[in-house]
Symmetry: C2
Subunit: 170 residues, 2 copies
């Protein structure tokens, strides 16, 4: 395990399995709600950024504005999304999760949190501590990437979407 190459393999595998499990879990949950994956994806996006417009959805999900508009319409009808006029630009809309929408998302996360919590509980206190620290770093890093992506999306840059992973100061 001291070998950096083997360590990399170990971490990759762990991340792959985590992702795979999370995927299946989410798929199951979404199906149970009666929503479709694209619909749920929009709710997820709105969970992570508080509010945004139709065009942002379109960019983020890689679909046309028309498609985004149609999906949003369904979610609004389902009372999962609130769609109001942007007071500073009356052409644009502001989307936001309704309490019902928020609750639905949290229900989805809950399944994941259950096994994550169970896993944490099994760690030694010292391991637990370290794990927390490392995941805090991970959170920080992923947030940075998120910012970066949003900055690159919003303006009309045709500079494509290959956001670089922030480098350490090494």
């Amino acid at each position: 395990m001291t070998d950096i190459l083997q360590l990399t393999q170990t971490v990759r595998l762990g991340m792959d399995l985590i992702t795979h499990r999370a995927f299946r879990e989410q798929a199951r949950f979404v199906k149970s709600t009666g929503l479709t994956m694209p619909q749920f994806g929009i709710l997820m996006q709105l969970h992570y950024r508080q509010r945004c417009g139709i065009s942002d959805i379109s960019n983020h999900m890689d679909i046309t504005i028309a498609a985004a508009s149609q999906l949003v319409e369904k979610l609004v009808q389902g009372e999962l999304l609130e769609r109001t006029e942007d007071p500073s630009d009356r052409r644009a809309k502001l989307l936001k999760l309704t309490p019902k929408g928020q609750a639905l998302i949290e229900g989805g996360l809950a399944a994941r949190h259950r096994w994550v919590d169970a896993f944490i509980a099994r760690l030694e206190p010292a391991e637990r501590e370290k794990f927390g620290e490392v995941l805090a770093m991970m959170t920080h890093t992923l947030r940075q990437v998120q910012e970066q992506e949003r900055a690159a999306e919003s303006p009309h840059e045709q500079a494509r979407s290959n956001p670089t992973f922030p480098r350490g100061e090494s």
Copy 2:
């Protein structure tokens, strides 16, 4: 961070962001391949269990056998999947990734591995070590759960799918 409650929150958040990022990445990748998510899901399943039949797909993906059969047909035509007769039961089929299918999956994982590797590179050697250990535990745990689920799926148990997370010996 010493507080167990806050630590739990930290870890949950980190896992959520990891999952969210992995999702988006995967969605993008799948779209770029021209496959659909359900199709890709089947390839993924076959990546994690070496070989299985149509019914297993049906169970795993929560779709009817008919749907599974149709999806598999498309993947076979795309030369991503090999479908042979099970010699021990000539009604059943054995599915397996072709080299082309394997390569495709690995391409999908590669994007994730890039940022995971970059992240590892930024950790202190000691942190790195600990992270590796914890993820190895995670791998072990998730594998257990996987086994458990498969065992519960294969036979005709109508005991539904709420596999319990293995408890520690605490």
